[in-house]
Symmetry: C2
Subunit: 354 residues, 2 copies
């Protein structure tokens, strides 16, 4: 693989300069290359095999941002009182770099991730950062570990920007110290199945108006894990999160959710819940909306969908497809939904394909 | 101070054996004493000065609990993908050890903290632990760092048990590795004032039915920080968290909240919101309820309280006291509440005392 690296380096840089010509170079970046490189596994599931290097950038309220550092992948040394570990002052992002048939590497709409990370950071009282400059540092990290990007249509390299408080005191407060870091891992398939079964129990609420459900804050995930555990105990892969007395459909596990159906008015419609504060503004979600609106083949709506609407549509065979979307899972068909003591089977709809 | 240590050690052990005689000793505990001890500061605010030692206990799904270890206080070495930093799979507790006039050291109702930590851990999909055995390890840690317990009526030593996932992969899932650790710090006054001003804005919701507001999970705090920031920007110390269309009073910052008033029926009543799933079951809260019920001097209620009830009572001069309660702040009078564009002044009620 190594001999290809230098060949594609030119293409890679051409490609990125084309996309990011507006960037200020992260001029202060310090690079410490690892003396040894890990063996790359042939097959990998999602999120377990990390690359050789990582990016770290420290911040403090007194000194501002320090020089970005790319260094060998390794453990973080954290004060045991650091408030990311006590009060979940932590946000993250997820984006992927793909290797094309032309061997060029491409990041998928990374500025959307940078923007969302900045919003999440603001909500977590973490400091602002220069988004293009941070992205340039990520680009350098990808460039250094470029051999990790799989030569495969089904796999990619997942980039995980992470932003944590490193405040070393136990009062609940806005942090005076923080660490922005980036790790990268192989991204095989997220689920061990090609279609997900969902557990929809209205007693569990993922997010609520006046909260942080529209941000990628760690707390949204930790606080929802017990519902996922119950879903798994009941033979499902993910939770279908409901909201309100009318059991609105909001998200499916860590995915946005889409329903392609004949709606109540007899129209062919691709529908997903609107960004009303409890829905994560997914990059894949946005891309699906952009793409399908551009196709102009059917109605595309951001609208509320309730379980009773879905159940009626299933009964009347008006459901064409239902799927989750997210960077990690990409597009994931939904096979079953367990709700109100019954399992609604969707797999007969598209049994040919999955 | 050091020469007193050996004198009081006997008292201390007597005292604890009296309280915890039902405990199994944590027989496997390994103690590595620090070769040097820090200088103890004369004055300390809350949560910034940590003692010389810490307790760590590692867990994995394959090997179970390892031997508890008391070692010199120092940084944790954590994998950068560890899911406590990404998905806030983390819970904590807070309890205090006090030095009495008799020089004996006493933990305040520690089994209530052990029980609550076990509940929080269950909600975070962290493993079960032997509560008395864990408490015995904490007792040993306190014993080793006993000179840190202030000789003061106004200060104490704060104990922070912390339980984090150390799962090293990025899929959102129940952790296979975890770390239970305990650090201790000096606990001076939590607020820089002897009465708190609160910011009550119904657009911010701390917790909701079907969520984790009744657990000490990190996410509850990180996800509420932006409201605290707005409170501070508006000259308040804490948020008064409201809930529902009727603006129910729920908690005040990191405290439970109590209203001592003449209620709508003309009764003298000490009231605090009920444990309905969105309220943290505070140890201080429970102790206040136990104590005042035992006094039998006035009605003691766990009941809903709305902002309109409070505002009417303030107008009609039926409010006798309002205060927050919590382990860190203990009892904190409430001086002002900013709500609906108006500042409601409570300080005239008890201006003599504060």
């Amino acid at each position: 693989m190594h001999h290809k690296a230098s060949l594609i380096r030119g293409h890679w840089i051409d490609n990125l300069i084309h996309i990011y010509s507006h960037l200020i170079p992260a001029a202060d970046l310090v690079v410490q290359l690892s003396p040894t490189l890990k063996t790359k596994p042939d097959v990998s599931s999602f999120g377990v095999d990390f690359t050789d290097h990582m990016l770290t950038i420290e911040w403090s309220s007194t000194e501002g941002w320090k020089a970005p550092l790319i260094k060998p992948f390794g453990n973080l040394s954290l004060h045991p009182a650091c408030s990311s570990l006590h009060y979940a002052i932590q946000v993250f992002e997820g984006l992927k770099v793909y290797r094309g048939d032309d061997n060029k590497l491409r990041l998928f709409r990374p500025m959307l991730n940078m923007n969302r990370m900045a919003s999440s950071a603001k909500k977590a009282c973490l400091p602002a950062f220069d988004q293009p400059e941070f992205l340039e540092c990520i680009r350098r990290l990808v460039e250094i570990d470029q051999d990790w990007v799989p030569h495969s249509y089904n796999a990619s390299l997942y980039i995980r920007p992470t932003f944590i408080s490193t405040e070393q005191s136990l009062g609940v407060k806005k942090p005076c110290r923080a660490l922005l870091y980036v790790i990268m891992c192989l991204a095989g398939t997220y689920f061990n199945t090609n279609a997900a079964s969902l557990w929809a129990d209205p007693k569990y609420i993922r997010a609520w108006k006046g909260g942080t459900g529209d941000c990628k804050m760690g707390g949204n995930y930790g606080c929802s894990l017990f519902a996922l555990d119950e879903a798994v105990d009941n033979g499902c892969q993910q939770v279908l999160w409901l909201y309100g007395d009318d059991h609105q459909i909001t998200e499916a596990g860590t995915m946005n959710v889409f329903l392609f159906w004949i709606n109540e008015d007899g129209e062919e419609e691709l529908a997903t819940p609107p960004l009303d504060g409890i829905i994560l503004p997914g990059v894949t979600r946005q891309s699906i909306l952009d793409l399908t609106r551009n196709w102009g083949e059917f109605k595309v709506s951001e609208r509320y969908l309730t379980m009773s609407q879905l159940c009626s549509a299933l009964k009347q065979q008006r459901v064409k497809e239902m799927f989750g979307s997210g960077t990690a899972c990409m597009i994931c068909p939904i096979r079953h939904i367990a709700y109100n003591g019954q399992v609604r089977n969707l797999s007969n709809i598209y049994k040919e394909e999955i």
